[in-house]
């Protein structure tokens, strides 16, 4: 291949298109190789692209990519909800990190509905943001249709970046919390404080991350020689209200036996507290309560809530890094989560 550029006029910067033509591949393929993509490229093709890029002196130029992308210094964040304090805290953390990188964030909400998620991604893709971050609790079952995956791949092919937070249902790498280990450590601490009889509140919607918290907690109790009866795990609707209703509809003798209620999120722990109070139970004197997430906006609740801290800022930082970095191939990253003991679990 002896085509040379610049024969017929002034030199201009080497574009992705030039590389693609020289390598004899399509532009999307060249993009996948040089911009990084979860989609594999045939080794022989990859070689050709890399060689062509080197021969032409192509450099991945972020601003050129921005032009190619059509915009922008904007990142699109797609989250499950914002009324839930966890998600608004997550969104705020991402916006803080984005701001440090000189980026703007636009946010859209799916309410955990796959039809809305698809519609949103389709529309957002058209605005050509620098990256699309999908943050959620991750469905247990893989995504039922491939259409969302197709949209995301097409977006990647035009140079966009897909970043996942706590999503295990999509074929892209994700940043997650260590749900299992965090819950496990919390269970061990609580057993250490003398608690023996627990009620666990899980999620009625099958969410992998949430199930990991239940499994981890049971594992931690087992570590301490406490076997947990399966009927002491309830799966109410995944919400503050769901938790409250679950507590309110407990049999009186069941309630009397419970020493500590563990809920998979702080939001649900607070719903449980509301339910307990409505039954005349005093927290933490009669029943202790623990949650998971360590939501800052809930820091003024009395008594202060024992929970598992998840480093939202670390996750946000990693997400923004992935949204702004070329060439690196990202693998799953798990961010540590650790128990924080507070007034709601003083000990037996």
């Amino acid at each position: 291949m002896s085509e040379t550029l610049g024969d017929a006029g002034p030199r201009r910067p080497v574009t992705l298109d030039d590389v693609a033509r020289r390598a004899g591949v399509s532009q999307p393929t060249a993009s996948r190789v040089l911009n990084g993509s979860a989609r594999k490229v045939n080794e022989a093709l990859r070689e050709r692209v890399v060689t062509a890029a080197r021969e032409l002196g192509y450099t991945t130029n972020l601003s050129a990519q921005a032009v190619a992308r059509g915009t922008s210094r904007t990142i699109a964040l797609v989250i499950s909800g914002i009324s839930d304090p966890y998600f608004s805290a997550m969104a705020a953390a991402i916006m803080r990190q984005a701001e440090l990188a000189g980026l703007r964030v636009s946010i859209a909400v799916t309410d955990r509905r796959s039809d809305r998620e698809l519609e949103l991604v389709r529309e957002i893709r058209g605005h050509q943001p620098l990256a699309i971050i999908l943050a959620g609790t991750g469905f247990l079952a893989p995504h039922p249709e491939d259409t969302l995956v197709d949209e995301l791949r097409r977006y990647e092919e035009t140079g966009g970046r897909v970043v996942l937070i706590s999503r295990t249902d999509l074929p892209f790498e994700t940043v997650s919390f260590d749900n299992h280990e965090g819950a496990r450590q919390l269970a061990r601490e609580l057993a250490g404080l003398g608690y023996r009889r627990f009620l666990l509140l899980g999620s009625g919607t099958a969410l992998l991350g949430m199930q990991q918290r239940i499994d981890g907690f049971v594992h931690g109790l087992a570590d301490e020689g406490i076997s947990h009866a399966a009927d002491r795990i309830l799966y109410p609707e995944f919400s503050w209200d769901g938790a409250r209703r679950a507590i309110e509809s407990l049999e009186e003798d069941t309630l009397r036996e419970v020493e500590l209620v563990f809920a998979i999120t702080d939001d649900m722990a607070l719903g449980a507290i509301a339910g307990l109070r409505s039954r005349g139970v005093s927290i933490p004197d009669d029943v202790a309560v623990a949650g998971f997430d360590d939501i800052t906006t809930l820091r003024d609740i009395v008594p202060s809530l024992t929970t598992v801290h998840v480093a939202l800022d670390t996750v946000a930082e990693e997400a923004i890094h992935r949204a702004t970095t070329d060439g690196e191939v990202f693998t799953r990253k798990t961010v540590p989560a650790y128990p924080v003991l507070r007034e709601s679990t003083p000990g037996v």
Binding site: Q27, G70, S106, D111, E123, R125, T158, I301
Partner: protein
């Protein structure tokens, strides 16, 4: 069809696939009209081969505006805004639109920059949910950006006060605060401190002024040094009340111009070794969702936040808004445990 030099256009994709422009559009942009599977596949293959992405600008030219509704709000973590957003989302959904949000941190300059960026989305509607700033300059700047968005086929709706012009949902902040002052005085409170938020923000200023004026009409003068500016946040409430109590002041009731500020105020009272409600009463404004977890339960002025959000979008989408859409929103005083009846001294 495309504003960007060098971008692949929908026409090119249609030619490449050997289909009409309409078919290509239906296949790629989503449509209730079905496209034959083999044509659909061809269009997708051509789009992929050419590296086409549904550039919203192209759609905008065809339709005048995109499917997007953009909400500009202050702080994404503030439950006041997420409640408003939920109402906007409900109406958007019913109209086949998608909602995006951007936060400004209450900064007028950032709002301007955000509006400039939002223009690129060619939104069908823009909801300005953050509080307006007092002052002519802010008003003119905003008016220019609003005009720019409208030129692109979008409509702007503002959640504001009685004095906001254009498509606006007027929240009667002043009257609500006045009603609250009356209710607290009826409960026996006399010695007030106001955590007043940012005095440059219309919402905060109206709530604070409404309270002071109503108290004055009842013969209670609230001294200027008891009307304390603060950050419009939980931390703002915490810091201001901590400083107030540290100075030796002991009001019998603290009015915070927003519930998030009131929550911070309660934490500061507790931190000073006092009991909120029993020792120092606290009242807020908004009736945000998180109050369900606050003890003692917080007295406030309830606003139908989701309804406000819904109304703001309905207003933007209506060609000829009728009276029901433009009626102002009143707050309703809700007395709870944080302001028990005060015994006369």
């Amino acid at each position: 069809m495309s504003d960007l030099a060098g971008s692949v256009t929908l026409s090119q994709v249609a030619d490449h696939a050997g289909v009409s422009l309409a078919t290509a559009s239906r296949a790629l942009n989503g449509s209730t009209r079905k496209v034959k599977p083999e044509l659909h596949q061809r269009v997708l293959a051509s789009a992929a081969a050419l590296g086409y992405s549904a550039n919203v600008l192209a759609q905008s030219v065809a339709r005048g505006a995109s499917k997007t509704v953009a909400i500009v709000l202050g702080d994404i973590a503030d439950p006041y805004f997420s409640a408003i957003a939920s109402g906007v989302i409900r109406v958007a959904e019913a109209n086949g639109l998608v909602v995006t949000m951007a936060a400004t941190g209450g900064d007028a300059d950032r709002e301007d920059a955000t509006l400039v960026a939002i223009k690129g989305q060619r939104p069908q509607a823009v909801i300005l949910a953050g509080s307006r700033h007092i002052g002519e300059e802010a008003g003119e700047r905003m008016a220019r950006e609003v005009a720019a968005i409208e030129r692109l086929g979008g409509r702007v709706s503002v959640i504001g006060s009685r004095t906001t012009t254009g498509r606006a949902v007027a929240v009667l902040n002043r009257a609500g605060a006045a009603d609250l002052a009356d209710a607290l005085i009826d409960l026996g409170y006399r010695n007030f401190a106001i955590i007043a938020g940012n005095p440059d923000l219309v919402t905060a200023a109206e709530r604070s002024t409404g309270f002071v004026e109503a108290a004055a009409a009842r013969g209670i003068v609230i001294a200027p040094d008891r009307v304390i500016p603060s950050k419009f946040s939980r931390d703002g409430g915490y810091e201001s009340v901590s400083a107030l109590l540290a100075s030796g002041a002991r009001p019998d009731c603290v009015f915070a111009v927003a519930d998030v500020v009131a929550v911070g105020a309660m934490a500061a009272i507790r931190n000073a070794g006092l009991v909120p409600g029993r020792d120092i009463a606290v009242a807020g404004f908004d009736d945000i969702q998180m109050l369900q977890d606050v003890t003692p339960s917080l007295t406030t002025v309830a606003l139908p936040l989701a309804e406000i959000g819904a109304r703001s979008l309905e207003l933007a989408l209506a060609d000829n808004p009728d009276a029901s859409l433009t009626a102002p929103i009143e707050g309703r005083v809700v007395v709870r445990d944080s302001t028990p009846p005060r015994r006369a001294d």
